[in-house]
């Protein structure tokens, strides 16, 4: 057991922290909520130049050759800053291609992702609203040298800026993953008004033709790929939550030191101190269970149970941390002017993404052999 970050990891974190502190300030986050694109192409370019999009790709595909644990450090810092943009979706798709793609697909997509020239997003769940195989109704029918896709995907992140979608579709009894050009005829995108004002969309597929070459992995064996995307998404969301929860804790302690009532800072009252102690305990627990799962995944160790534990725990605990933070802040925290609402709204989105606590607890139960 060793809880120390390597020097390289510390450097990455420090660099990410100062990038976020400098650029991804709350004014930017607010501006991007109203922005049509939802992110700054200028910052996107800078992040690509830092090598972040290709962080986990081998150097042969234009990447940095780092591990998933390092990527989780970036997610954590982005969560801390409420960093908007398609980084999460794009890296998730990139890793799926790295895992399951043909050599040709890797060569085609990974260097362009790493260069910041290609944005991708996952199109997984549907009106059924579940991260299950049964929830996939979008149909892919073989036709000529390709497939024709018909159906609807929901909650597709960054659909407005994506160049390609990673689409889970039903082929016969199984599921197949397709890499679909977002500009394909028959695709229509309708943006959704979401709690986090992020860029999620309904993406309708009407007779969309996809060449065979764009099947990711084997036909009918896409569920394994999708499960891994869900797992990486879940642990990535945990990392975002860890960063955000730590920031919310810091904001709350700071406020309790400066807000004076009854002639004393409210942070000197035991009622408030106990709130803070509970928050800190929840935040530390979130860190360790997330680091454990992310590290196991990074090392290629079995980690299905730990990932689900992390997501179940972080989903529930962050909600408690957020509501307690609001309780301590009182009315000021309830205003749009205050940054706490940015975290609260994104907290709910993170809880629901890639499986909520109940979903993951069912997976844990299966892993426990019950």
């Amino acid at each position: 057991m060793d809880f120390k970050f390597t020097e390289e990891q510390e450097m990455l974190r420090n660099f990410a922290r100062s990038f976020m502190d400098d650029k991804i300030i709350p004014e930017h986050v607010r501006a991007m909520e109203a922005d049509e694109k939802g992110y700054s192409p200028d910052y996107w370019k800078q992040m690509a130049e830092l090598g972040w999009m290709g962080l986990v790709f081998p150097e042969a595909y234009g990447g940095q050759g780092m591990g998933f644990f390092e990527l989780a450090i970036l997610f954590e810092e982005m969560g801390r800053a409420c960093c908007p943009g398609p980084f999460f979706s794009t890296t998730l798709c990139g890793m799926a291609i790295l895992d399951s793609g043909s050599e040709g697909q890797k060569k085609e997509f990974l260097p362009r992702i790493a260069d910041g020239k290609m944005i991708m997003s996952t199109a997984l769940i549907e009106p059924a609203g579940t991260y299950t195989q049964e929830g996939i109704a979008l149909k892919a029918t073989a036709k000529g040298d390709g497939y024709v896709l018909n159906g609807t995907k929901l909650f597709v992140n960054d659909a407005n800026s994506a160049d390609y979608f990673l689409v889970a579709a039903k082929t016969g009894k199984g599921v197949t993953m397709f890499i679909v050009d977002a500009k394909s005829p028959g695709i229509s995108i309708t943006m959704l008004n979401t709690i986090a004002s992020d860029k999620q969309a309904e993406v309708a597929f009407k007779g969309v033709t996809v060449p065979k070459a764009n099947v990711l992995g084997e036909v009918g064996k896409g569920w394994d790929i999708m499960q891994k995307v869900i797992q990486r998404g879940a642990i990535g969301k945990c990392a975002e939550i860890v960063g955000a929860a730590q920031k919310v804790l810091e904001m709350t302690i700071e406020y309790s030191k400066t807000r004076v009532q009854f002639g004393k800072p409210i942070g000197s009252f035991q009622a408030v101190q106990h709130h803070a102690a509970n928050m800190a305990t929840g935040v530390d627990g979130s860190k360790f269970i997330t680091y454990e799962a992310a590290w196991l995944m990074s090392e290629g160790e079995p980690c299905s149970k730990e990932i689900s534990m992390a997501k179940a725990w972080c989903s529930d605990t962050y909600q408690q941390v957020l509501t307690t933070a609001h309780q301590v802040h009182g009315a000021i925290g309830f205003t749009m002017d205050h940054d706490l609402q940015l975290y609260f709204r994104r907290g709910k989105a993170a809880e629901l993404a890639y499986g909520d606590a109940d979903y993951h607890r069912e997976l844990i139960a299966c892993e426990m052999g019950i």
């Binding site: 302690i253 102690a277 426990m368």
Partner: protein, 399 residues
């Protein structure tokens, strides 16, 4: 970062499991390492606990993290923790938590060369059991207000007063006693710590009290002109409050160990839910029960990681003002949650103790559920943990 144990650590864990398999009878049914304080069969259990202690010592497993010159092996603290985890999980008595994990490390930090040689050696050899004398009738959370006093008379301290909630003092050989030695000084600056030899002391009387879970562990320890040698003062005269803080700093992380008891209960409950049908269906197929068991497993895994983190910090010699209190707070609360959940799943059977033929899991859940109430105040109340996390850990303003 590394979330795996080293090969050597894994091998050590396996060696402990093999040892337990060999040394512990298969019909061994006690609910936890404290069952030696039960009313019935006490003598027999206590004898077994003592035998186990000697065997652990013979293996060289007591005080493994003590330096070699004091009878230990100079191993990282995680070895002590692994042993404690396995002993707890398998419910085997014989590892004296106070001596090995609390008093020993404190003496190592604050003791004189002579004290280290004497006390660490006898702990490592499994010769002694330790107990603590902290709380008094009017000094609980506000420990600095303790009144039991010691006055120097020639080469001896003369002690008068009364300690309460001294767990296991009636069977202990050594006693970590906190007394007032300078009544004129501010409360926390007039306390000293004495290392009392209970086998060679006069003027000490004990009355054992029964816990609501049935154990006879609490003691009221009265001192009437009790005399102990002058040189048993530990950590410096009137410096006892620092000793208290050090002691608690070591004690609290090990209270996180309760997650390893609870893990055993959870594993037993999983088995029970697989095998037990209610209304024609195994409990394990009930969605609500699946959710609850998964939630318990998650809580305990978080606790396990928090425990390893604080042990890792302490093994590097880092101060743990936040982490020690946090794992105590979290460990107890998550353990309690697991027992509460287990009781709910057992339904009406949860009421039965081990004397009933109808009692599921030998009535252990019933016992541990009540036992956990004691943990909420043992070693400091959960409110004091929160105060300390906020004050020393998060540096919030003083009340």
């Amino acid at each position: 970062m590394n979330f795996k144990f080293s090969k050597e650590e894994e091998a050590f864990r396996q060696e402990i499991r093999d040892f337990i398999k060999k040394e512990v009878p298969s019909d061994f049914i006690w609910a936890d390492v404290d069952t030696q304080y039960r009313e019935e069969g006490t003598e027999e259990i206590r004898k077994f606990a003592e035998e186990m202690r000697k065997k652990l010592a013979a293996k060289g497993w007591l005080g493994m993290s003590f330096p070699k010159e004091y009878g230990g092996q100079g191993k990282p603290l995680i070895y002590d923790y692994i042993l404690a985890e396995e002993m707890n999980y398998h419910k085997v008595p014989g590892r004296d938590l106070y001596g090995v994990s609390i008093v020993g490390p404190t003496i190592l930090r604050l003791g004189t060369e002579e004290q280290k040689k004497r006390y660490l050696g006898e702990i490592a050899r499994g010769e002694v059991v330790w107990s603590e004398g902290m709380s008094e009738a009017d000094a609980g959370s506000d420990l600095a207000s303790l009144k039991t006093k010691a006055v120097l008379d020639g080469n001896e301290w003369v002690i008068n007063g009364e300690k309460i909630w001294s767990s296991g003092a009636h069977v202990a050989d050594r006693y970590l006693l906190f007394v007032r030695t300078d009544p004129a000084a501010p409360p926390h600056k007039g306390i000293s710590c004495l290392l009392v030899d209970l086998n060679n002391a006069s003027g000490i009387n004990m009355k054992t009290d029964q816990h609501m879970d049935g154990l006879w562990a609490f003691n009221i320890v009265s001192f009437q002109d009790a005399r102990v040698p002058k040189d048993v003062v530990f950590g410096g005269e009137n410096n006892g409050f620092k000793v208290i803080l050090e002691t608690l700093n070591f004690e609290r992380p090990f209270s996180g160990l309760c997650v390893s008891y609870a893990k055993r209960v959870l594993d037993d409950m999983v088995q029970y839910c697989r095998e037990t049908k209610r209304d024609g269906k195994p409990l394990a197929e009930n969605q609500i029960i699946r959710q609850k068991l998964a939630d318990c497993a998650t809580r305990l895994e978080v606790g396990r990681m928090m425990s390893y983190h604080v042990v890792w910090m302490q093994s590097l010699g880092l101060p743990t003002p936040k982490e020690s209190n946090m794992i105590k707070l979290y460990g107890i609360e998550s353990t309690k949650k697991v027992y509460d959940t287990a009781m709910q799943i057992l339904g009406p059977y949860a009421q039965l103790n081990e004397q009933s033929k109808w009692a599921p899991l030998r009535g252990e859940v019933n016992y541990l559920y009540m036992r956990a109430i004691g943990l909420m105040s043992a070693g400091g109340s959960l409110e004091i943990m929160r105060n300390t996390i906020a004050g020393a850990g998060l540096r919030m303003p003083k009340a």
